[in-house]
Symmetry: C2
Subunit: 374 residues, 2 copies
């Protein structure tokens, strides 16, 4: 297999990996060229973190920035009378699955000499970058819309990130980040392909959790799609490495109020985004939309659009099982119910529902659902 | 070894284990008689949770209530230039170490037929009981002082616990719980000895983390002392089982503003409690004070009283390392600095600092430290 390189998946152009870069020369989003993945004999079993799969990364940093991320529980459960598995991705340093991507991305970037990073996110992405920048002795600047409630940035600020309030919308904030990216390395969880090579460890972990088998289905709360693409990468590598004999079907769960990937997959016209309780997945313009569609299609999977009431009901259903999570990720459970009812998923199949973030990140939302004012 | 029984450690009286009971006939706090512990060959390595140590419990429930608690990271780090290990106990279902105790206690109680439990805690204890009651299909009633901010009970309420606001002080609330304990089984994290047999799995885990060695020192944020007593139980069992050849020294870290266990250990007179940022350890009247003192003494360890400024500085120091935790548990790191400076702990020793709760549980405190108003 060739040396790993950055790849523009739309033109096929490649760029050498050894110089830090987060986009192509015309600002296009990049992936990496296909990597060989790893076989079960290459797992570093002494490591109780995602770094046990370091052999699957594009290169191995001498000193990974690690806080014990990964190796999260896969719990058996039931939903609407059918068995499923909950992958509990909030057992993480910063409380969400984004720590996988942040640990790998910042470890690789630091090994390439990057010391100061830029990010734009008031949510889980920003908190994860702030966490690993702190752990790695790197500086982080995080841009957030000036309308962001102070509570949302406490975690990143406490971790030492510099928070810059940008007047205007979320899009203005993203534009400001692009402008500042000339001066500070833009370690965006949405843009940098190293991030996806962190999230892909979810696939490796599910494979190991299940005794070196792929599940039949993985249902993923989907905003920009980093877990969809991460699973596609990871399971794709395992397939090419001969470790599994077929891909699991990947299903993206998105809010009906803001679900551009699901809408495109389902052949629905574009729609103006509306506010949703599933705020972590409210990404109106995902930069890797075509790659997400390809990942869902290639896996034989699909997409589900969920109404607010369904998301709320699923949030409550999870809490009744002791699973206190962000409403955002309850979409995956709600989608399981729908897919089961439609007969798309069978009761005898092995289905994983990915629960991406702690309910402690959504105290205000949970209070609203309880009718409490804080 | 005799059949396990409840034990009044102050009188030596025992009571049969097979009927649910949370205190002695005169309302005295109980422990269990000595258990044999387990050897390394008895670890159930297929389980990625504290239930791998189920052989060390007083009895094995057929269906444990488990959400993947335990098996938390033990991270190498440094503090004031000396090496230490951080045990990251917030990688847990409800975000704190209390899940160890709750999972074991409610599993054992449910196996004994208990279906409805009473607790009094607006903090981590209440959240953990609410979590495992939900997971186990049990009802939970949690009493909290009516002055408790609504934000503190959102998690327990969302998980389906019944929250009862009790007029008056924290003590009034404890008194109300004792009164209600005639009607509902009082599954108090402070009172029930099964809880300690959950927290003792921390000791087993540290032993396994370190390649079946005990650390030299364990520094523990201490309120009522469930982790101090849990470590004393677990390491004591390992010593009796011949798996370790000496106990680690246990050190209790308490706030100077409310540190009755440390004051008693250090021979200081009692003092009226004052408010502290370390609210999780602000227990003015720990019911197992003599047992805590004995545990510290028998291990050759000690106690440290920390000023508010030291706790704040340690909270910041941990955040600078990417460890976003409750200020309460930063006391353990601050105490490490003190013990190092005093020469009580040497640089070459293996010292574990236990970090008990997620910073996401203390957003308001962190905001205060940042000078942010929410």
């Amino acid at each position: 297999m060739q040396e790993p390189a950055y790849l523009d998946p739309r033109s096929g152009a490649t760029f050498p990996l050894d110089e830090p870069r987060w986009c192509g020369p015309e600002g296009q989003p990049l992936l990496l060229t296909d990597l060989p993945g790893l076989g079960r004999g290459q797992i570093d079993r002494a490591k109780g973190s995602l770094w046990r799969y370091a052999a699957a990364l594009p290169f191995r940093p001498e000193a990974p920035i690690t806080l014990g991320e990964g190796c999260t529980p896969l719990l058996p459960g039931e939903w609407n009378g059918a068995p499923l598995r909950f992958k509990c991705e909030w057992f993480m340093p910063s409380g969400s699955f984004k720590d996988r991507g942040a640990s790998v991305m910042l470890s690789l970037l630091r090994a390439q000499g990057v010391r100061h990073v830029l990010e734009d996110s008031s949510g889980n992405g920003g908190a994860a970058i702030a966490t690993y920048a702190a752990a790695g002795g790197m500086r982080a600047r995080i841009l957030v819309p000036d309308s962001t409630s102070p509570a949302k940035t406490v975690q990143s600020r406490a971790l030492g990130a510099e928070i810059e309030l940008v007047p205007g919308s979320r899009q203005d904030c993203a534009d400001a980040a692009l402008a500042q990216a000339r001066d500070i390395f833009y370690a965006s969880h949405n843009w940098h392909p190293f991030f996806l090579h962190g999230t892909k460890t979810l696939a490796y972990e599910l494979w190991e959790d299940l005794g070196f088998r792929a599940p039949d289905n993985v249902i993923i709360p989907c905003g920009a799609g980093s877990n969809v693409l991460g699973c596609a990468l990871g399971f794709g590598e395992l397939l090419r490495a001969g470790e599994i004999d077929r891909l699991p079907r990947l299903f993206a769960a998105q809010p009906a109020h803001c679900g551009p990937i699901a809408r495109a997959f389902l052949g629905l016209p574009e729609a103006a985004p509306r506010p949703t309780i599933a705020e972590g997945t409210a990404i109106a313009q995902p930069i890797r939309l075509p790659e997400n569609l390809a990942a869902l299609r290639d896996s034989g999977g699909g997409a589900v659009l969920l109404e607010e009431e369904e998301i709320i009901e699923a949030t409550r259903g999870l809490a009744r099982r002791g699973l206190y999570v962000e409403p955002t990720c309850a979409q995956a459970a709600a989608a399981f119910g729908r897919l089961l009812e439609a007969g798309t998923i069978g009761r005898g199949e092995t289905t994983v529902v990915v629960l991406t973030g702690s309910g402690l990140k959504a105290t205000r939302r949970h209070a609203e659902l309880l009718g409490l004012s804080l």
